[in-house]
Symmetry: C2
Subunit: 476 residues, 2 copies
Amino acid sequence: MVYLDAAGAEPLDPAGREAYLAALDEGWAGPDRLYREGRRARMLLDAAREAVAQEFGCRADELVFTSSGTTAVHQGVLGLARGRMRAGTTIAVGAVEHSSVLHAVDVATRRSGGRSVIVPVDGLGRVSLGALADLVDAEAGLAFAAIQSANHEVGTRQPVTQAAGLLAERGVPLLMDAAVTLGREPVPEGWAVLAGSARKWGGPTGVGVLAVRKGTRFAADWPEDERERGWAPGPVNVPAILAAATALRTRLGEAAATAERHRELTALLRARIPELVPNVEVVGDPDDRAPHILTFSCLYASGEALLLELDRLGFAVSSGSSCTASTLTPSHVLEAMGVLTQGNVRVSLPWRVTADEVEQFLAVLPGAVRVARPQQDAEAGSAPAGEDEAVAEPELEIDALGKLCPLPVIELGKRIGQVQVGGTVRVLADDPAARLDIPAWCRLTGHDYLGAAAFEGEHGIEAVPGAMAYRVRRRE
Amino acid sequence: MVYLDAAGAEPLDPAGREAYLAALDEGWAGPDRLYREGRRARMLLDAAREAVAQEFGCRADELVFTSSGTTAVHQGVLGLARGRMRAGTTIAVGAVEHSSVLHAVDVATRRSGGRSVIVPVDGLGRVSLGALADLVDAEAGLAFAAIQSANHEVGTRQPVTQAAGLLAERGVPLLMDAAVTLGREPVPEGWAVLAGSARKWGGPTGVGVLAVRKGTRFAADWPEDERERGWAPGPVNVPAILAAATALRTRLGEAAATAERHRELTALLRARIPELVPNVEVVGDPDDRAPHILTFSCLYASGEALLLELDRLGFAVSSGSSCTASTLTPSHVLEAMGVLTQGNVRVSLPWRVTADEVEQFLAVLPGAVRVARPQQDAEAGSAPAGEDEAVAEPELEIDALGKLCPLPVIELGKRIGQVQVGGTVRVLADDPAARLDIPAWCRLTGHDYLGAAAFEGEHGIEAVPGAMAYRVRRRE
């Protein structure tokens, strides 16, 4: 099995595994205990905290260990929101933040009676500093802004240090979810609250880090106890923390070399995939990005079918396509970027990936995509069927109501040749993915996207919830 | 080292350790993933959930795994409080519940604008069913009652099934923190929400269980995600959960025999300690209790000094004395029971404790207590110094303001002989432990406790915050 979903989880780093096993025997006692096992656990914990803090450029007493990166984000958001309540209850949040940030912001604003405002991103998934500046100037009471170090789905780095500078001038703290980059590259400066997850750097599941700069107003908004400054209730998992600290040290020693190797491999994928597979959109910043992530979408392909076929062939990847998520909506990251969501694949390289594994992936991908494109002829659809040109209509309507991604776009691709050059096709669809995929189809095939409007029901076709009418003009 | 603090943590059970190591290699992938590693992790997780649910007498879809027992309690309390908000915002909580329950109830009532009411306990630490019934009848809007299966500090079992019956008649659900008994004895019936911690049954740190009976109104009051029904955000720690399930199965197979063995050993401790050590109060129910816990307090002894001396001699125990806690207040459990708090020791037997280890503990205890009683002569103080009888005063005042436990009681023991039989001693003290320890001293030494009043400052002695004047009448 070739594992290419490191951004989800990686097996425990071998050095971390050794540290874990040793600590299961030596560090299992509560570090709050007075007897020697407790004191030893405390000593080991203090050393791990010191080491991790040093790597992240903060003081040991600014950093606590939580039970996961998710918890670190949740407590970070809720604690900062509560601590900054007097300054304001509006939270600015990047449009492509991790769902854990968005969920916590929802709860924080519900509790405070405040609201969140989204900082938009460009087509590469990068937040707009101009929009952030405008927003800070327009908002009298801004609690804080949440901006990640780099995006977890498309790898694009965010301009966090510039954002932090811009916010600092207005006295607004920055919360940075650095899960994608911790253990891989230097921690960007300027954060007031930092959150991350050890399992993203080869540590075990069950360890998050939350750091809060001295001087930041921060107040627990959850049941507290005496452990980890009251910021992370529950027992401190010393063995897992030691494993996390060990894995971090190992990784950082190899980080620069690994980043370079990963960058070459993802650059190779980025260059080769569009050559090997027709109608592919590779997304995210090609240069200023986390080196281990590469994401692309395949027109006309079902994301779920693609993942399952790749799995059958022995390759593990993830997807932001709607049909692979329990919510039936495409990834909010792809949505905010306005890119194609169908047939979406995220490749994220594990630490010790080989060039051979990447080559193997490239070798099987075209066949896997063919399997995941249910109607092969759809691929040819964007080229007009010559002999029908004479009978082509000036207008055409496609009723794709009730059909799920990628079917509406497949239908469009198959039938665009039935309309005259310059004529328009009206696609009726209620699948939310169509909002992104029809414009993306136009971009990829060279036709004009004219816009969309709510479809209220017409000439015997009933409206369904979320139904839209999309208009496309055929080009040559 | 003889480890007698199993109620805090135990080393991972050997079978659980094996399961853990195997699962670090086989179950590390996210169970939400479509590829085979993910599907395998999901299969392992489902099997573990099924096994644990069966042991606890609930359905697999009623049970989720959290990141700790503390988290299970917190989410249980907050989710039930929010789910039951329309029924009421008052929460009834046993006086000796674990601090995690009390902390969560504080937050729940702060969020709802409600309040908590304490169900009192008797001198053995058992909640009063009569008081609970009165409370339910008096309260129009009761959200729920929280009562543990057995007490974590003194071992006393709670009448949860009777309480649940009484509550059910009034339509009020019961939340049961069963951390002390899960994996050791059958789960009492009648709970609507059940919380527990795997590391109390020999599982690893980082796994809690939260079960919510079908039909119970329960609503997330935290940032949700799609995992574990939205009740336990963050990654699901499959390897740790497998280890927990394995440890549980191993333990339950040996539970009846182990309980019997533990019961004999704690009965031995209970009988022998008062014979070996003068002025000891053994607390908690002698019979109806968790078999592995035995708690006692030693008059005139410093809890911290006693723990450190026992540690020096190679014995690990815990204490509810104020001087061993960062809060400087004695355990709320001992306080609610109204028992002596100084020189407090909780012995909790690990699964495979030997009779020899318990005998060793009994052999060193008298010497350790002598070391922890800073002024040896205090022990003799309660016997009047015969020759001074003639010059004894009718009244005596002891200024122990600013002195910490056990000093006020030591002073009292030393000087009681200076007052006539029938005369009174007035002790001025601001240490909160004195509220419990002076009455307990009277109980243990046979003098009369006459009561206490706030000390506002008098004849040149300034009042300090929390200062009280305690009155004691000397008996023969």
